[in-house]
Structure formats: structure tokens, C-alpha cells
Symmetry: C2
Subunit: 356 residues, 2 copies
DNA sequence: GGCTGCTATGTTTACGTAAACATTCGGTGG
DNA sequence: CCACCGAATGTTTACGTAAACATAGCAGCC
């Protein structure tokens, strides 16, 4: 292509971007007219518009978003602050956020927090203050937010995903309680006398709420509440916890707080010779893409991360546009996905005790 | 709106951010001095500096990054363009990119491409032209890039992750061939006569390269090359392919192009009563966090996504700073992780006869 | 004592855009 | 025929920052 063989004509030296002024010069109009064309304003002569467009194309003109942002006072950008992307949930949420934002003409800027300490979070928030961002979506355990929030520049709108700061910020959350209730009911309906619980880390609000809901569901059904076993979300921790659960002879049903721990649990049970679902039923939470391929395919509570992401963006942009902060919580419903890891309670103990 | 209705005291209505001028007024200095303090320049009197800092704090001053970018001519931002985040690899790479970029004072902006068509990609690239970005990292199958690349503004630097556009852009890639070779050798060393292959989708360059390397490794060892079975990276597709592989009586070793397909494969084999690793050895690729908890724990080729991300940022920033495009490929080595899904070839008919 | 050279600070200007305001011009109605 | 209108376009200005240049004050030196 003849792009810039030797700089034949005028200013081909285009080492920086062309500006409106450049376009204006080439098109023989004022830069204001270029601006009008650029922003699709009416009231520009057809022929003039064409000339301007030609000049733009010719020069490879792109509007400078910094100048635009400076002039307009907003950035058309949403920041996402998150501790780790390494969980399916965060990742899927992020993806939905990015997509929704793009549809609205907003860009998404990532704000990683290396270590989940208050200092780190506070640091991220204050970096964010200097960042070109109109709103922030926080995907994180909320108690880390508690004292960090104060340093936020006042005009930045905040949405918190999967947490519970409903009194201070807009929150979009999965219906943890509902999903948990469904899971426990499912198991009780299958004839299990009670449901054990492989809980997530205590620092996590999501985990905590699943645990609370599990306890409530059992209590309201008048069942015994076994002591929960705690993991850290990882499959490995699920395995370790699973080894302990496998020793509880009367454990016939386990509600794992996420699918990965359920995976580890399945391995532990297999290793200890307890069959799933014949001896023990296992249910997870999340419905990660792989869970249908576990051994056996995992019954689990499906979370609609994409919807969470969408609603986060929705709330963020509503706040930006109406320049008014929102509060309160939006719940996104879950859906029970029954696969093969849950089944009727084993015969045995119906009356008495059974030990393998 | 009391915006500027009566302006009670001086600008207490702080609906917008304070600017340098505001700080300067409060501190009783010129805005240039504020700038110097803000940027940590030397040559400012200790006492003056303190006064300015106090005023900043007082007003909650934050530098306006749009204005800064406009003045400086760069954005301190890297764009990441990617088709999907839903794969562990992309996600981990992204996370590493975000972290490395943050360390260098760069923000990361996400540029999602909904559907992997050329038009979509081209669209993303041209949106990107208007975006406040100094460099772009592309995480995507490269052939979609082929004709889209041209629309990129000339001064935006490009790095391509996990692909092979080494002649046109800087590329950072995992050493697919090396990892594959290790995997195949490992299986052959265990006495398997040959290694079957559960391949990734044909559109994927990474998949293609793993397939090529697998073939080469077998050929150079003088072994037969069974027809590869193709999946689409998902566990489900691995399961379906696995059902077919399970019927090949002479199939004692399978190299799956990623861990998720290996997961599905494990399930298919289990379902068909073929034990792993006693009857069939399975090896994966990626080393996703869960793979150690599969049934059995998966032997796999570990990819250092974090390193890939780091090097992407490194190259991107180098290009930005030296304002000179790079080319060529950087390979990040892999590491074989031996767990329990691979074992010695079964006794069977193999004893000695194998045909090349 | 006047000049040099340095430090601390102030003033001007430009970055690219777009709102607000100004101008031109061909028509239209009283 | 002229005041007036609206359409098309031009001119001025401001957004917040920081580079470049300018100034003021003071110490040291011949």
C-alpha cells in the first residue's frame, strides 16, 4: 500500500494523531464544524459534512478521548475493583460487566488489589481517586471495605457486587439464601435426615450467608444441625474437609458452599470408598461450567453471574446519569440444577445407626 | 439545583472536584507550585510544600487524569482486547496483566469482543482507536486478526498473547511445542506404544500447535500417529470425545489439549469402565487449579499464565517508552506436573510388537 | 558594589475538544 | 424595501494540567 512511502504530499509525517484543527485545515472549515460532524450534530451542510469526513479519513483522525473527557467532565469509564479474578464467579461477573458497559459506550478499567488487606483496598480506592472513572463496581468481601470507603472521592458512584453494604451503597447480589434453601430442601426431600455443610472461608460474606441460610433451613425443618466443616473455596480444601466428613458415618448429604470444594469432596469420598450418590449425596453452589462433568455430574445451585454483572452496570450508569447515589440491595435469583450427585438417602439408618 | 444559585461561602458546593487553582488559592501559591508538589518535584520550600499538601487534603484534591493525559499526550493505560474471559488461561493472563500494569502505574482497560467474527474484532479495534490507550494486548486466536489489524491507529503499540503473529507484532506465547513434547515423552517413557490426542478446536492456534507438536513428537519417536479426536475446550466436549476414545481397545494413553477436556475424558472413561491410570493414562494441558482434585488427580502440563501476562506488559511498556514497535516471539516455558492419571502401560498385547 | 549564579516561586501558554456566542447570507413578510 | 429569521459556519473561551519561560531574592565573589 502507498501509505507513506516517502511522505509525498503534505504533512504525511503523522507521528502523532491528527487533531480537529488538522482536519479543519484540510477540509477548509473551522474546527468547530469538524466537532459538529464528529458528534453527529444536525445543521451541517451535506456537502461540507462529506468534505470533513473525507478529511478525517484521509488523516486517520480519531477524537482524543482525554480532551473530550476534560471538556465534558466525565470519562465514560467504569472501574472494577476486585481482589482476585481467579474465581469463576468474579470472572464471569467481570465479563458481563465489560460487555454491558461496552454496549452503553462505557469502557471498563480494572483495578486489581493484590492482597486483601484493608490497606491494599484503601490504596486501590485512593489510586482510583486519580483514575479516570465515573463509577466503581466493587467485587469483594465487604468488610474489607468498611473503613476504606471514606477515601472515595465524593462524586464517584459505587456499586457493590455479591456483598452486603446495602445501607451504604447499591448492592447487587445473588440470592444466596434462596439458593441455599433450595439446596437443603432438595436433600431433605430426598429423605436425608439432615444435611452437613462444607462451608467457605469465614471472611467471606457470601460464605457466611450460605452457612446462615443452611442453618436456618435445617432448623425450620426441625432437623439437627451438624457442625459445619470449613474450607477456603479451593478444591484442595474441599478434599481435606471431605476426608473428615467421610468419617462421619451418619453423614449422607453434604451441601458444599461452592462447586470447587464439592469437587474435592467428591475425590475424598471416592478415596474413602463412599459412593456418590448411593452412600452420600453432594450438592454444590455456582454451577461452574465443568460441574456437569464431575464424577458424578454435580447437582448444584446455578448462579447467574452474567445477570449480576448486567445489573451492576445498570445501577452504576443510572447513578452516573442521575448523579445521585443509590442504596439498597438487588437480588438475582438462583436455580437448582439437579444432576447425578444427589439421590435418595440410603436405607440403613432409617431407623438406627449405620456404619460402613 | 443549588449548583451556583447563591454559593454560600466560597465554593463549598464542591459538586465537582477541586482543581489545582482551588488548591493554589487556598494555599496562597500559584497553581504551578501546586503542580510541582503534586508531581513531587524538587525545589519547593519545605514549608510551602506543607501548606500545599494541607490545602490538598483540605479540599480533597485529586489530580484530573483527563487533563493530565491531555497535557502529557499519553494515557498511562493499556487496553486488553479479548474474545472471552471464560477460560482459565485468558483469565489468569488478564489478572497478571492487570497486576503488572498496576505496578508500573498503568491502568488496564478491557475491550470485550462479543462474537469472534472479523467484523466484531475490527469493530473492537476501531472503538479502541478512540479509546484512551497507549498500547493493546490482544488475547485471541490470531487469524481473526489478520485483516482487522489495519484499522489500528498507527501509534498504538500491540502485543499478542498466545498466538503467532510474530512477524507483524510482538508475541508472547507459551511454549506449546515444548510442553506437548514433554507430555508425549512422559507417556512414551511409561511404555505406551503411542499416544492418542484429544485436540482443541481447529480455529485455535494454540490447539493447532499442540496437535502439530504431538504429531511431530510421535513421528520422531517412530510411533504410529492415531487420528486425533476433536473437542472445543469444554469438559462436555471432552466427555463426548472420550466416549469414542474409550472404544479404541488399543488406546492406552491420551494427551488432552486442555485440562477441562481431560476432565470430561476422565468421566467418559470411568463410565465405560476403563480405569485411569491402570488401563488408560491421561495427561492434560494448563494445570488449572482444580486439576489436582480430579479423579484421579491429573498429570498435566503447567502453563505459567502469570509470566505470560507479565511479559506482555513488559513488552507493551517497552514499546510505549521507546516508541518503537517490537516484533518476534517470546516463549514462556512450561513444566510437566506428574500426578496420578498417568502410569505404566498395561501389560496386554503390547509386550513388544509395535508398528511404526 | 555590581555582577553571577542559584533557589523558590510566578506567569504564560498549549494540549484537543465543545459549549456559548458571533457572524454571514439568502430569503420572507409587512 | 427593510427588518427579521433561520440555516450554516466561524470565533472565543474554558476545561485542568504542566512545560517553558520569567522574575524575585539572596549569597558569593572579584
Amino acid at each position: 500500500m502507498t501509505t507513506n512511502g516517502r511522505a509525498p504530499q503534505r504533512g504525511t509525517r503523522r507521528t502523532q494523531n491528527a487533531s480537529m484543527a488538522d482536519v479543519a485545515r484540510v477540509a477548509g472549515v473551522s474546527s468547530q464544524t469538524v466537532s459538529r460532524v464528529s458528534n453527529g450534530f444536525p445543521g451541517v451542510n451535506e456537502e461540507t459534512r462529506d468534505r470533513v469526513l473525507a478529511a478525517m479519513k484521509d488523516l486517520g483522525y480519531r477524537p482524543n478521548s482525554a480532551a473530550r473527557a476534560l471538556k465534558r467532565g466525565d470519562f465514560r469509564t467504569i472501574g472494577v475493583i476486585t481482589f482476585t479474578l481467579s474465581t469463576t464467579g468474579n470472572m464471569r461477573t467481570l465479563e458481563a460487566i465489560a460487555t454491558s458497559a461496552a454496549q452503553e459506550g462505557y469502557a471498563v478499567t480494572l483495578l486489581p488489589v493484590a492482597v486483601p488487606t484493608q490497606d491494599e483496598v484503601r490504596g486501590a480506592f485512593s489510586r482510583l481517586g486519580e483514575l479516570a472513572v465515573d463509577a466503581v463496581i466493587v467485587i469483594m468481601e465487604v468488610h474489607l471495605l468498611d473503613s476504606a470507603s471514606l477515601t472515595l472521592p465524593p462524586h464517584v458512584k459505587v456499586v457493590v457486587a455479591d456483598s452486603d453494604a446495602g445501607d451504604r451503597y447499591a448492592v447487587v447480589d445473588t440470592d444466596q439464601a434462596g439458593g441455599t434453601r433450595d439446596a437443603v430442601r432438595h436433600l431433605l426431600d430426598l429423605g436425608h435426615r439432615t444435611v452437613w455443610h462444607l462451608a467457605g472461608p469465614s471472611e467471606s460474606f457470601a460464605a457466611q450467608r450460605r452457612t446462615d441460610a443452611w442453618r436456618t433451613a435445617l432448623e425450620s425443618a426441625g432437623r439437627a444441625v451438624p457442625p459445619p466443616v470449613r474450607g477456603d473455596w479451593s478444591a484442595e480444601s474441599g478434599y481435606r474437609a471431605g476426608l473428615r466428613l467421610a468419617e462421619q458415618a451418619d453423614c449422607t448429604a453434604v451441601f458444599a458452599a461452592n462447586d470447587q470444594m464439592a469437587l474435592g469432596l467428591l475425590r475424598a469420598l471416592d478415596e474413602r470408598g463412599r459412593r456418590v450418590p448411593e452412600d452420600v449425596s453432594v450438592i454444590g453452589f455456582d454451577d461452574i461450567p465443568d460441574s456437569g462433568s464431575f464424577l458424578p455430574p454435580l447437582t448444584t445451585v446455578h448462579q447467574d453471574f452474567a445477570e449480576v454483572g448486567r445489573r451492576c452496570v445498570e445501577s452504576a450508569l443510572r447513578q452516573v446519569r442521575e448523579s445521585e447515589a443509590e442504596r439498597g440491595t438487588t437480588l438475582v435469583p438462583t436455580r437448582l440444577v439437579v444432576r447425578e450427585s444427589t439421590g435418595r438417602a440410603p436405607r440403613g439408618p432409617g431407623g438406627g445407626s449405620f456404619r460402613p
